[in-house]
Amino acid sequence: MELTRTEITERLREILLAADDRNRDVVAACTEDSRLVADLGFTSVSMLYMVIAIEEEFNIRFENVGVADFNTLGEVIDYIEAQLK
């Protein structure tokens, strides 16, 4: 699957909304520097959902990494981009 960074980001925004649709404004305004916990309000449950949804959406596997390894949205995008190459 070949996706640009922008396309990955947009798909990730949809996943973030699906995890918690009360945060529409926050998700719409988020950037790659947005911190998952501090800025986007991620809980352990939403982190778990994000991993599952990303694996489904991009057909990749999170291998040898845990949710605690990602601090910002940009780091998640970096990982997805690397897995897709």
Partner: protein, 324 residues
């Protein structure tokens, strides 16, 4: 004087644009279920078209097994009706449908799985749905009492000695609310399929979907619901689940936009009893069991057999139980 006119104007605007719509919404939300018709839902343009084959097969098997109508009286005097299949078994599966839904649409596939394994089957029409009485649905809050009534009826009037309760959506919420009051000596397990957290959380989500401001609408809806139902709709299933000792099995589709996967997972985290979570990739609301029914059945009964060795085995008859 001008201030008075401004206040009266604001009050009028509030009544017209907030209170009025919220009152109408409240009446509609808690109204009698008109039901999502089975045949329309599985038609080519229906929401469950891709599962038509499984749903039709499940419904046909249940009818072939011989369902008869039974009824009880609820604690508040309503007639509650259900379809019952008597396999003369010690084990009964109670299958609870969702909000404004046809029971066969929500639970026929699951019911067929239990029936094939020799369970008695009870499929109630929840209050204010189908053949059951009542003009108001309580989104699980009132229905929890009806579930307790049905369990008492089963134990008193049938061969039932052990029960598995399987609820879908509002049926799951009903089951979750009752989970700390169901008797663990008689209820072997509860199964919560895409259950929501509270009526409040669901209504709030619908407000957002329809571009209605929840911070204005919800206080009115809560107030009117308290008058109509006598209960606070913010009551979360987490409270009951955190006190239950009955083993609980959760199912949820990752693409569920009616009740988010994260909500189902949060309920699982809150549950205090032995539990398992079955996540189904890429499916929406009330479809977690339908995507791959064989795999879902295998996983469910593996859990049931783990918590009650007799619950997973086919055809546990009253005579066999007495001999054991």
């Amino acid at each position: 004087m001008i201030v008075l006119y401004i206040l009266l104007g604001l009050a009028a605007l509030y009544l017209v644009f907030v209170f009025g719509p919220a009152a109408v919404a409240s009446k509609v939300i808690f109204s009698r279920g008109t039901g999502t018709e089975f045949d329309r839902a599985i038609a080519p343009e229906g929401d469950f078209a891709c599962y038509a084959e499984q749903l039709r097969a499940g419904r046909d098997l249940l009818y072939a097994e011989g369902l008869r109508e039974v009824s009880v009286s609820s604690e508040d005097g309503l007639r509650l009706a259900a379809d019952y299949r008597d396999a003369h078994s010690a084990y009964t599966a109670i299958l609870l449908h969702g909000y404004h839904s046809d029971p066969m649409l929500n639970v026929s596939v699951q019911g067929a799985c239990f029936a094939k394994r020799g369970y008695n089957i009870l499929i109630p029409d929840q209050r204010a749905h189908g053949r059951s009485g009542g003009e108001r649905t309580g989104l699980g809050i009132l229905e929890q009492e009806d579930l307790l009534t049905w369990t008492r009826w089963l134990l008193a009037e049938t061969s039932t000695r052990r029960i598995v309760v399987y609820g879908v959506s509002m049926g799951a919420a009903t089951t979750a609310y009752a989970s700390d009051r169901l008797d663990p000596q008689t209820v072997a397990a509860i199964v919560l399929d895409c259950g929501f957290d509270s009526p409040d959380s669901q209504i709030r989500r619908e407000c957002v979907k329809r571009h209605l401001p929840p911070f204005l609408m919800m206080p009115v809806i809560r107030l009117l619901a308290k008058r109509r139902l006598g209960r606070d709709i913010r009551c979360s299933v987490h409270d009951s689940l955190s006190r239950t000792t009955i083993p609980a099995y959760f199912l949820h589709g990752t693409r569920d936009q009616t009740v988010l996967w994260t909500e189902g997972r949060a309920a699982f985290e809150a549950c205090a009893s032995k539990k398992s979570f079955y996540s189904v990739a890429g499916v929406g609301h009330a479809a977690a069991f339908l995507k791959d029914p064989e795999r879902a059945e295998e996983a469910l009964f593996a859990f049931l057999e783990e918590v009650d060795p007799s619950a997973g085995r086919p055809h546990i008859s009253v005579n066999q139980t007495n001999q054991a």
